[in-house]
Assembly symmetry: C2
């Protein structure tokens, strides 16, 4: 409730933690590295879920549910996969008071158990493609955790598809990367960069991993969603085979893709400011808050009556609206409180406004007088809807401008290090280095290769690190 938060400019990490808690999004759990997602944070997640789920269904996917527990032997079937995930597993050794014959991993991701089931379900090319998604929680025993960004348990969706041909599986991988990109731009107002991961950064067990990389307010990168082309790796490990049109056995081609509650951390860090959260209207649990202002009983009756009428009108127009008629708090307290919670638009109604048949609109994204306007009661719903749309667009435009202003070129490693040190942000560079070169760069600068952006019109140039000619463009940044 409008607790004091560290200013963003002063200490970005402290600001982030303060905002998450002061805005009532999440709380630390009494279990190491776990979080409680509070109702306001969960309502944001529900809106993210709805926006994604609609897109998944429009692209032909259906939801299902696979078990929480995975036999340890399953994880060992794909060599790279187990190497990647074994160090992070939570393991159930006892059930019903007895020691289990085979320990069970709490799922860190579900390729293995889903691969096992797909092998039972797929017999013929007619059974393909299988396009399944599931909403669930997964557990990865992380050493250093941070609310939403990296927690031992987190909520996500994981899509798992199987296809008859390599081409179809690659198309699916790209399609879902496109769905994530569309969601990020048009719902979260985050101008992510879709790209391919380097060999060093790809998913354990994938042939190729794709990512959407977002720039946070401090210039760091956040991997906000991934889509993996798994080739036939899991199909071979789990014997996912089918009879093709020529009646010959073939291994299926599979993909997986996921986006998690980490996205909430991204929304906070891309749009937030010293006053707290700034939520994009399309995802905000409360899009409009009405704050009535009165001094005496007579004013109270008139103002509350007008406020309730406005609430009803906006609610009927499909706006997610809240009337804050709490008696124990002043209007000024309420302004701060709802600003902290990032509500995109505030409507103020006082006795003079009632007399003039008007209200005041105050935009969260434009502080002070500049973001305020008087609006006549007639046609208010249309005005509010248009203003929410304008806020959505303004947030995206601002984030694009910020991303572009903080994306730099570097011709050589010295320049690369200097820019990282003095300005930060994304370094967009020609790259012909190796995984070992990436290791060294990370060790020396803390920056990692975020992705090879799909959109790279730069043409040929010289690798800033090796000096080799190449047409490959990479983005490096410090990352969460």
């Amino acid at each position: 409730m409008a607790d004091k938060v560290t200013p963003r400019s002063q200490d970005y990490a402290a600001w982030y933690n303060d905002v998450v808690q002061a805005a009532d999004l999440a709380d630390y759990a009494p279990v190491r590295g776990c979080m409680v997602i509070k109702p306001y944070g969960y309502a944001l997640w529900e809106n993210i879920q709805a926006a994604l789920d609609r897109r998944f269904k429009e692209t032909g996917h259906v939801n299902a549910y696979f078990p929480l527990f995975i036999p340890m032997s399953f994880l060992r079937k794909e060599a790279e996969h187990v190497e990647g995930f074994a160090p992070e597993l939570a393991v159930v050794t006892h059930g019903g008071g007895e020691e289990l014959e085979e320990p069970l991993a709490v799922r860190p991701t579900s390729e293995t158990i889903i691969g096992h089931m797909y092998a039972q379900w797929i017999h013929s090319y007619r059974d393909l493609p299988i396009l399944i998604n599931q909403w669930n929680s997964v557990v990865r025993w992380e050493k250093r955790t941070r609310l939403f960004l990296r927690t031992t348990e987190f909520l996500w969706q994981e899509g798992h598809t199987a296809h008859a041909t390599e081409r179809e599986a690659i198309e699916e991988t790209e399609r879902m990367l496109g769905v994530y990109t569309d969601f990020a731009y048009n719902e979260a107002a985050i101008p992510v960069i879709p790209g391919r991961k380097s060999e060093r950064e790809k998913f354990a067990g994938a042939v190729a991993s794709y990512t959407i990389e977002a720039m946070m307010g401090n210039g760091w990168a956040l991997q906000a969603g991934t889509s993996h082309f798994l080739g036939q790796n899991f199909a071979r490990a789990f014997e996912i085979k089918f009879l093709d049109v020529n009646n010959e056995f073939q291994y299926a081609w599979t993909t997986s893709w996921g986006l998690s509650t980490r996205m909430i951390g991204g929304i906070i860090m891309v749009h937030g400011d010293d006053q707290g959260l700034v939520l994009p209207p399309r995802l905000a649990p409360i899009q409009v808050v009405i704050v009535p202002i009165w001094k005496n009983e007579e004013e109270r009756t008139a103002v509350l009556g007008a406020s309730q009428a406005v609430r009803a009108e906006l609610s009927d127009a499909g706006v997610r609206v809240r009337l804050d008629d709490r008696e124990q708090f002043s209007p000024g307290f309420k302004f701060n409180d709802w600003e902290m919670r990032g509500v995109p638009l505030r409507i103020e109604i006082g006795p003079k406004d009632v007399a003039k048949d008007q209200v005041v609109l105050a935009r969260r994204d434009i502080p002070g007088r500049e973001g305020k306007q008087f609006v006549a009661r007639g046609g208010l719903a249309a005005q509010v809807t248009a203003t929410l749309q304008a806020i959505q667009e303004a947030l995206l435009a601002r984030a694009i401008a910020f991303r572009n202003a903080n994306t730099h070129r570097a011709e050589n490693y010295a320049q690369f290090r200097e820019i990282l040190e003095t300005q930060g942000g994304f370094l967009r560079v020609h790259w012909a280095g190796s995984s070992e070169d990436e290791d060294r760069i990370q060790e020396e600068t803390k920056a990692t290769l975020r992705c090879f952006p799909l959109d790279a019109p730069e043409g040929r140039g010289r690798c800033f690190y090796t000096g080799q000619e190449t047409d490959r463009i990479a983005i490096f940044a410090r990352a969460y």
Copy 2:
């Protein structure tokens, strides 16, 4: 895909297992006692979720998420609770490659960890009530499992509320029992009996447990949802205290309530028949299937064109419709396939229907010619919507009639045993016995005290078991 299922009349248990798998609702998982909920079964669960979630939100509840893991010490804080759940726990002993200092239980239910958090969040009477629900999965290490009815892991929702007064908490417990009853009648078409559990059958840690009890097609009972008044038991165990209006510390009063994927088992067993599933239209993933019928290419063009037009018209009218235009299957095969999957209404369109500008409607709940009618294309959407409503009502009426026909009175124990043996069903009796009497009755008849129905107009009478005068009515039955 229309596999052969055991007739319901021949072997109810085998029929149930066959239907669950043949209708593609769920499959056995490679982990002991766990299930995979397949897309068709999960779509049914999504409709159940939507119908419940709407009701929860209309009654002022919000969703949140609490961790999967619960420290073992938390479970021990409420004596009855740990006694009830300890034998069924799955326990994580290792995380990140190391043995944990304190083992973690995978949540069997979340009263304890939520109680711990509520103690942090609640300070004043102004913070009350807290009305939170969560959708998640829980784990109970069951010895004998059966798809949907009793599995080691299952999906459910668990509501957890905290209140300033005993009266408010009791009202909440009753309100949510009412929500479940309304859902069961009006969405699942299951005429449940809302009632109170006996001391012997109540939730571990509750002051009073309420239940909705449904009668399955074989006369057995299924506990389909529960709502618990927890008194101050968990508030005392977890120190959930608040300053009241007089500035004095009080313990809060709490409730919890849950409904699970078990409900899917109930829907199958209440409405299903020898041909497979029969789904209530309001919850059916597919409400209407269109089966086109043709013999040659010319007919095919005309019939498919008409079928697509009908699909578009119904879809626009908000009907969940599927056009089965698969080329490799005959119309007869498709009829059986969709009957197995319980689709409430089938539309057949052949060349003659196209010529006459009509279609055939075939109701799943009325087999053969009696359930078929010709309907003119004009106004088809209205006719379909009305028919779906009629099917919904007919399923409920049939289930009520069945329940009433299979509910019996018994004046003494000999009669009770004879009815159970020869007719089964529910025994609605006067009851003044003890928990030990319930033990004996279960041992001798396998029947348990399902509930004391809230609606009990019988008045005073003699307990069938003890002979004592009482005005308490109980329902006994064999149960899942």
